[in-house]
Symmetry: C2
Subunit: 226 residues, 2 copies
DNA sequence: CGGTTGTTTCGGCCGCACCCGAAGCGTTGG
DNA sequence: CCAACGCTTCGGGTGCGGCCGAAACAACCG
């Protein structure tokens, strides 16, 4: 029969422990060097190099040479979304991790999803925008209302979408921990950028976790509540 | 590091050719016997049995004994959605299938996605419902308006949600061929049921393809346009 | 230019897991 | 009740693919 697109290739790529570790490390949105990814995956550099070659040929990662380093990153938002979907399924079906530990709670609170925020905090932001009429959720795409643009601009978020990219401004992204939607797309990326730049949130070193500063928590509670 | 849920296990399960074939066959929403699935996957019954055991233990499929047969089905909508997401990624990244053939076009027009319609026709239905104010797309969940319930009831769709299930009535499901949302959830399932029962559409024998009858095309063009 | 570091390519080892043949259960039917 | 059928379990063969050591490339650095 063999109907529809061929799932096997991509699923098999993600299904290897070393490659999965690489992809999950890259879900932080940072571009990492081949050597760093090798450590992350617990394999030697030459093994990681082979994996990265496969991932890049399949269009999951994008290599970028810079000096004698070679940086790899998640190729695009669609790859990131699919990985999140898989995370959701794994979280739902997978046997609960033996010890969920504090790290898990941190991730559920706030983390980076490729290039925008995810987790409880991100859902809070999304909810407020939608409920205040700042984000107009249409049949398919969402649009930012005039009021919404003003609201975000006040906070210092750059709502001007770069005209070069064909990427949608707003996009609902499914959150694996909250099982709800949060804001992705160019706007989601802009909001994360603003939070980091303003010192309202800081990224953990080698993790997807995002820690909100006291100032950031204040902004969040003041502007994104109700 | 090992952050977040463990993707590897589930991705590796889907990444095997035989198991992927089994899952894709089950995406028709029908429950199939182990023997049928063995043929579908091109392996012997004992091999398929082993695969089905793994899939069921991981929570991807649900076995149901009936007489001397044993029927397997996709476990729940979440599994189906993740498989669709993978299909989307594979369609986008995967090398184009050598010959896309007429079968592919048929699938893109209308197919079954676990228990509801997908493809161009499904997107048409979803668009009309949303644009007519029948489907109120809120921040997160969608709700069916009073007008919408009346509209669908007129068409013979059962809009009364079975109280036993905790399943949401309406749910946006990402369509891999249209790259847009279509209607899933209990309501999506009810609509498909009605279309089949009224003779407006017929399912292909061993495929996900759905063929609309002339009467069904008329209904679709009359009720779901504009 | 050697030396160092980061990355890739090549070859070969090894183990996992996919696969089937044979045999063991449970169900149906004559 | 025995035969037929469908499915599963068990055991062994085998091939693919991940892994590393060694070596070749490439880029910065003294």
């Amino acid at each position: 029969m063999r109907e529809g697109p061929d799932i096997t290739r991509i699923a098999a790529l993600i299904g290897d422990p070393a490659r999965a570790a690489i992809l999950q490390a890259l879900m932080s949105g940072k571009a990492l060097t081949a050597g760093e990814l090798a450590i992350e995956a617990g394999v030697t550099p030459q093994t990681a190099s082979g994996h990265l070659r496969m991932l890049s040929e399949a269009g999951l990662t994008a290599p970028r040479a810079q000096g004698r380093h070679r940086y790899y990153a998640i190729r695009d938002a669609e790859v990131a979304e699919t990985l999140e979907a898989l995370s959701g399924l794994a979280a739902a079906k997978g046997h609960l991790r033996t010890r969920t530990g504090p790290r898990d709670a941190e991730l559920r609170a706030a983390r980076v999803c490729y290039d925008h925020l995810a987790g409880a905090r991100a859902v809070q932001i999304y909810d407020h925008l939608a409920r205040s009429g700042y984000l107009l959720v249409d049949s398919d795409a969402m649009t930012l209302s005039v009021d919404g643009a003003a609201f975000l601009t006040d906070l210092g978020v750059d709502t001007a979408r770069p005209p070069t990219s064909r990427r949608p401004l707003c996009r609902a992204c499914l959150d694996w921990s909250e099982r709800r939607s949060h804001l992705g797309g160019a706007l989601g990326a802009a909001i994360l950028t603003r939070f980091l730049e303003a010192g309202w949130a800081r990224r953990a070193e080698a993790s997807r976790h995002v820690r909100f500063t006291p100032a950031g928590t204040r902004v969040l509670d003041a502007a994104f509540t109700g």
